[in-house]
């Protein structure tokens, strides 16, 4: 008994964040994933310092076209003599920013609507949830394809399309989380002292609903990168000559018979990024939400 008391106080002293970190850092997969995510983020942020966009990324060099991987060109060169390794490296910036911005769009819209639905209930909730049902009744990929092909091919429309299709999941998760804390005493207390609804939602309710939202956001970035590259592959993504990974794959497809390395490497880049994000997300879920731990 005394021992458990001691453990509890020790745990409290360590604080919630430290406790989560303790859990997270014990998960090897999650740590490896996070490390890779950090490296990728570094490459994405400093891509223009590492490489010169005009000469090394989009600059053509027909004399060295279609070369198989070698010491000079690690991943080979494409049909215009551009180094595929450099293009993939710089492409990190496009693919990751599409993933991040798209999920941020979905997050902001989804969390706001979900919080409103969960907090106010009633007719407002009905309207929001039924609209969410309608949006999610159309398969995500189809919806995204329709949106981009209507709005036109550009990186912003790509972000918007992938973002909109991830709204329903955030609405549902946030609403469910808000419902569990809505009737807690501290919420009633905030109401009693006359706080405005906006303050209650953003300062008192949402901070207590963060765990499932953070986990969902991490995993969503992973699937958003795949969706974005799929759209680019269909020719609906970032316009040429920007080296987005999906566009690289779609470009390599024409040469698949004789120059298969052009197909291999961009896909590998997508897979490693998504795998790292998934491992990080799984680790976050285990440490943030002990209930879900199996």
């Amino acid at each position: 008994m005394a021992k458990t008391m001691e453990q509890t106080t020790e745990r409290k002293a360590r604080g919630q964040v430290a406790e989560i970190w303790h859990q997270f850092s014990r998960n090897k997969g999650a740590m490896v994933g996070s490390f890779i995510v950090l490296v990728i983020a570094f490459i994405a942020i400093f891509a223009d310092v590492l490489l010169d966009y005009d000469t090394q990324v989009v600059g053509q060099n027909v004399a060295e076209r279609l070369q198989w991987p070698s010491a000079a060109h690690w991943f080979g060169t494409d049909e215009l003599g551009r180094d595929i390794f450099f293009r993939i490296l710089y492409g990190t910036r496009f693919s990751c920013s599409v993933g991040l911005v798209a999920v941020s769009i979905g997050l902001v819209i989804g969390v706001t609507l979900g919080a409103i639905a969960g907090f106010f209930g009633g007719a407002l909730e009905e309207v929001i949830m039924r609209s969410t049902d309608i949006l999610s009744a159309v398969p995500n990929m189809l919806m995204a394809i329709v949106i981009v092909s209507v709005l036109g091919q550009s990186i912003w429309n790509l972000m918007l399309a992938v973002g909109i299709t991830s709204v329903p999941q955030f609405v549902r998760i946030t609403r469910a989380a808000v419902l569990t804390v809505r009737n807690q005493e501290y919420v009633e207390a905030s109401k009693a002292i006359g706080l405005t609804n906006g303050k209650i939602i953003f300062k008192h309710i949402l901070p207590n609903c963060l765990s499932p939202i953070i986990v969902q956001a991490t995993l969503r970035v992973a699937s958003a990168i795949i969706s974005a590259s799929s759209l680019s592959f269909l020719g609906l993504g970032v316009p040429a000559p920007a080296p987005e990974w999906g566009s690289l794959l779609s470009g390599g497809r024409k040469y698949i018979r004789d120059y298969s390395y052009m197909t291999l490497f961009p896909g590998l880049a997508i897979m490693i990024t998504v795998l790292a994000l998934n491992m990080m997300g799984d680790g976050l879920r285990d440490s943030l939400d002990p209930k879900l731990k199996k």
Binding site: D133, V146, M271
Partner: protein, 317 residues
């Protein structure tokens, strides 16, 4: 149960209206319409106007939408702007290929993941378990269309085992089904594993073992049967997902299904065909998901009981 089915079917109506509204209006935002794309070279502005008038495109969008929905009530989904064929017929022509591919993919996924999930669950924490879980995670992280391309490189360009596309021969389905199936495998393996782990801890399995039943029978018949519900759920949602979302794989393998139909008609700005196909796909998915829900009740009497309890509560409330 009947009431539940009717209620679910009725709930589909507002969703279908909502989806058609959404798709119709998004398509209307597009700059340029089918007429610009299909007009013969040298057509005058008057010619274009005449074509628009014939197609009803000179009317405001709300009027066109109401007309469209009026037609739908009679089962008429309009005529394709481009091929001049009936939308419903065109969709139905492409549907069998998508259904064939979907079932083949689900078969691949089930045959690979259920045994792997059981294998992992019975060896929880061992190296074999960890390797299978890492493989599942890799499968989840691989862009599907890329896997398709890799399979084409390996099995169609290097060893000429399977065709790289089309639907002419029976063996043509192998690579696309393998592509989608492997993509689905990750989730299904993980679900099978965790569901089996839950069941393996139950006491009635200890009883079964104590009675001297061989371990194989305990796992395969006593445990698996009780672990089935989450597995069926995932198979059902995956089936719905594949029916509606194999656009990429259909493109990679030139598979003549619904996904390609939608992408092609989008490129042609063929609004009736796009709207009709998406509405049909949505209806199809809702029906599949409803069937899955009903299947639980068949598999598990406890769930059937829940439907009845819910109804009882509502009556009282």
């Amino acid at each position: 149960m009947h009431r539940y089915i009717i209620k679910r079917l009725l709930l589909m109506i507002p969703v279908i209206i909502g989806v058609s509204f959404l798709v119709f209006f998004i398509m209307d935002l597009a700059p340029g319409d089918a007429v610009d794309l299909m007009a013969p070279e040298g057509a005058t502005a008057e010619d274009l106007m005449a074509i628009r008038h014939d197609l009803g495109l000179d009317q405001p969008v709300v009027i066109r939408y109401i007309r469209y929905m009026g037609g739908m009530l009679h089962g008429d989904m309009g005529i394709s702007y481009v091929s001049k064929t009936d939308v419903f017929d065109t969709y139905m022509q492409k549907l069998p290929a998508t259904i064939k591919l979907s079932f083949a993919s689900i078969l691949v996924s089930v045959l690979l993941s259920v045994p792997l999930g059981i294998y992992s669950a019975t060896r929880q924490g061992t190296i074999q378990d960890n390797i299978s879980m890492v493989l599942a995670m890799i499968g989840l992280s691989m862009p599907n269309f890329w896997l398709g391309l890799l399979l084409i490189i390996a099995f169609s360009l290097h060893i000429h085992l399977f065709p790289s596309g089309g639907d002419q021969t029976l063996s043509a389905i192998v690579l696309p089904a393998l592509t989608i199936g492997t993509g689905l495998m990750a989730t299904l393996t993980r679900t099978t594993r965790s569901s089996m782990l839950d069941v393996l801890k139950q006491e009635y399995l200890r009883t079964a073992r104590a009675k001297g039943i061989p371990e194989k029978t305990v796992v395969m018949s006593h445990a698996l049967r009780n672990a089935l519900i989450p597995i069926i759920t995932i198979i059902g949602t995956q089936l719905a997902g594949v029916l509606g979302g194999s656009v990429l794989t259909e493109t990679v393998f030139a598979w003549p299904g619904v996904g390609r139909l939608i992408v092609d008609s989008l490129n042609m700005r063929d609004t009736p065909l796009v709207t009709g196909s998406i509405i049909m796909t949505t209806i199809l998915l809702s029906i599949v998901l409803l069937l899955v829900d009903l299947l639980y009740a068949v598999v598990d009497p406890r769930i059937k009981a829940q439907y009845i309890i819910k109804r009882g509560r509502k009556k009282r409330g």
